[in-house]
């Protein structure tokens, strides 16, 4: 029973990682860049929800929508201002700019909201569900997180396979030059990707802070790194890969902390990542690209 409860918590944490990882993996697939500031967009989203719920007394759903809107605009603005001028630059230059953007967001948050951790309010009081005659109790937030993950995964899969924009995204990620020649507006597509990734970040911010209700300017940093790890774990650029990687990473983290050592939890996560990459050098669902000679 204990194991099952850890497993459920692991899947729940993993679902949060997965939603964040989607933002990394989509941007990576299409813009071929590591959007380092993605973790901090989550933090911004969480602060918006916090303010909306705490200070402006907006209903939870409206708070979330507001946060999604702000994050979407933020994502598009970041892309336009900082990344778009560097389309032709080396990948490292873009990476450093993204790091600068991450510092910028963190320190802006520090100026606005201060360094003191805020206690994130419980927006959805869903109570606790008891299973197996009370031997296994699962928190409502946990189930909502898992459900949200499933809904997002199905939605995104449908979006990329069916919709016009989704197809355009896949084209751009495959071959940007060819997509441009086929009349696809690459800039719009990239903006759209950032918009979706950032909107998901707001959702992830809500879920993250509902589970771990401490909010400070660095809240997004570590989940960001872990989610990026998850994206690589699953094979970067692949949407199902991000899902799988995120959930597995969450499970490994929770089980590792529970059964091996709390202090070494992160080390275990990263060790598993290394082992997986050694066996499958392009991640679980990644495709190997052969260089033409």
């Amino acid at each position: 029973m204990e194991f099952l409860s850890y497993l459920v918590n692991g899947i729940s944490l993993g679902s949060i990682y997965a939603i964040i990882a989607l933002g990394y993996t989509m941007v990576y697939g299409i813009a071929k860049m590591l959007n380092f500031a993605h973790g901090d967009v989550i933090m911004v989203g969480a602060y918006i929800i916090f303010c909306a719920a705490q200070y402006w007394n907006l209903p939870p759903l409206l708070s979330l929508l507001l946060a999604m809107l702000v994050c979407t605009l933020l994502g598009i603005t970041i892309e336009k201002l900082a990344y778009k001028p560097l389309r032709q630059a080396t990948s490292l230059a873009v990476l450093i700019t993204a790091i600068g953007m991450s510092y910028l967001l963190q320190n802006t948050a520090l100026l606005i909201w201060g360094a003191n951790p805020k206690v994130f309010p419980s927006l959805f009081d869903l109570g606790t569900i008891s299973l197996f005659g009370g031997r296994l109790s699962v928190k409502g937030e946990t189930l909502v997180t898992i459900a949200a993950n499933i809904v997002i995964m199905v939605g995104l899969t449908l979006f990329t396979s069916r919709s016009r924009m989704g197809k355009a995204m896949r084209c751009v990620s495959e071959d940007r030059g060819a997509a441009e020649l086929m009349g696809i507006n690459v800039n719009t597509t990239i903006s759209m990707t950032f918009a979706i990734g950032s909107a998901l970040a707001a959702i992830a911010g809500l879920l993250l802070c509902s589970t771990y209700p401490v909010l400070q300017p660095t809240t997004g940093a570590m989940p960001g790194i872990k989610a990026f790890t998850a994206a690589v774990f699953g094979g970067i650029g692949s949407i199902p890969g991000a899902m799988l990687g995120g959930v597995l990473l969450g499970i490994i983290e929770i089980l590792g902390k529970a059964y091996i050592s709390t202090e070494l939890g992160d080390a275990i996560v990263f060790a598993v990542l290394i082992i997986v990459l050694l066996v499958r050098p392009t991640g679980l669902l990644g495709k190997a690209v052969r260089e033409k000679v």
């Binding site: 071929k32 001028p85 990948s91 990476l95 080390a267 990263f270 290394i274």
Partner: protein
């Protein structure tokens, strides 16, 4: 075009300017005309220069993105602190200079051995996957150092993991890190280490091995077809950089009274990477300048108080945007004659 001769002149100028600066600063310290904040920063500046130059060997010369360089610094720092404490408490070695030198050597060796162990798996991967695994190793090192306890009992060194039940004088105290460290690092030692690092990296670059490292970076397939063992030379760059980072770590650790393992987090690795990129990838003198400037800069921005790091972030973004804008680039090219540009990993992430 940069010929051999021009390269030689650049290198000599680098050594010369650094020596002159060292003499100037030493005189200023003697005359007490140096500001207290700058004086306190001299040793860290040396450490970060060594870190940046060594990371540039991996990122610029060898063309592999490493995001875990601070991990090697951490290993060097704590093994340096332990060896210094052991020599002092266990063997009563009082001479700080000798202890410092030995600690730096130990720091380098420990980091180098770890670099070799990590390099074997890491260097099988490519591009972003390699980068993420270096990140992972950096985090693992940080996490494991958080659980290590070391004490010196008589002249014996005792190790504990996850729990502290060690007899004797505690040198490393798990998450509390190293406490009550006898700070024995000197600016002179820092200067010597910087010159040593520059000599190692620059001499390596202009030798048969260095050319092989760069060939492997520029065109993997052609290099292999010329009989160059890619893994061997990637490894050479990676381990050399780890050794140098370990030495910098030992110097850094022994300049502080206390040091916690979480100091050497992913953010520090990224900071060093920022030095490298802003100084110019593959440009060794550039790394020296940017490491020194960017270590001083946040201190100089202290008058901005809370918005200090904000200003730093804005400057960083602006610097990247301006230095990579096609328009600015062509302007630069007109002003400065073309130099050997080192591109990092041709195939990765071209946008």
């Amino acid at each position: 075009m940069k010929t051999k001769k021009a390269r030689l002149i650049t290198n000599l100028v680098t050594y010369g300017v650094l020596t002159a600066l060292f003499i100037l600063l030493t005189v200023m310290i003697d005359n007490k005309t140096i500001s207290r904040s700058l004086k306190g920063q001299l040793i860290p500046i040396c450490c970060w220069i060594v870190m940046a130059v060594s990371l540039n060997l991996v990122v610029g010369i060898s063309g592999e993105l490493s995001l875990g360089h601070a991990g090697f610094m951490s290993l060097g720092a704590f093994s340096g602190i332990v060896s210094s404490g052991w020599l002092l408490n266990g063997f009563g070695m009082e001479d700080p200079t000798l202890r410092l030198v030995l600690a730096i050597v130990v720091g380098g060796v420990v980091a180098g051995v770890m670099g070799a162990l990590i390099g074997i798996p890491v260097l099988r991967l490519r591009g972003d996957y390699l980068a993420i695994v270096t990140l992972a190793f950096g985090e693992i090192i940080k996490n494991v150092m958080n659980c290590v306890y070391v004490a010196v009992d008589g002249s014996a060194l005792r190790f504990g993991f996850l729990k502290n039940d060690l007899p004797g004088t505690l040198l490393l105290n798990g998450p509390m890190g190293a406490v009550k460290v006898k700070a024995i690092s000197t600016f002179a030692a820092g200067f010597v280490l910087v010159i040593f690092t520059l000599a190692v990296v620059l001499n390596l670059t202009n030798s048969r091995s260095g050319r092989a490292i760069m060939a492997a970076r520029d065109n993997r397939i052609a290099a292999e077809a010329m009989g160059i063992n890619i893994t061997k030379y990637k490894m050479m760059a990676f381990v050399t950089a780890a050794v140098l980072a370990g030495m910098a770590g030992a110097l850094y650790g022994l300049s502080m009274a206390t040091l916690v393992p979480t100091k050497f987090s992913f953010n520090e690795s990224i900071n060093v990477l920022v030095f490298v990129v802003l100084g110019g990838i593959g440009n060794i003198p550039g790394s020296v300048i940017s490491a020194a400037a960017l270590t001083i800069l946040p201190e100089r921005l202290r008058f901005l108080q809370n918005s200090r790091m904000l200003a730093y972030a804005v400057l960083l973004i602006l610097a990247m945007l301006l230095s990579n804008n096609p328009l600015m680039k062509s302007l630069w090219k007109k002003l400065i004659p073309r130099r050997r540009e080192a591109r990092s990993g041709e195939g990765e992430m071209r946008s």
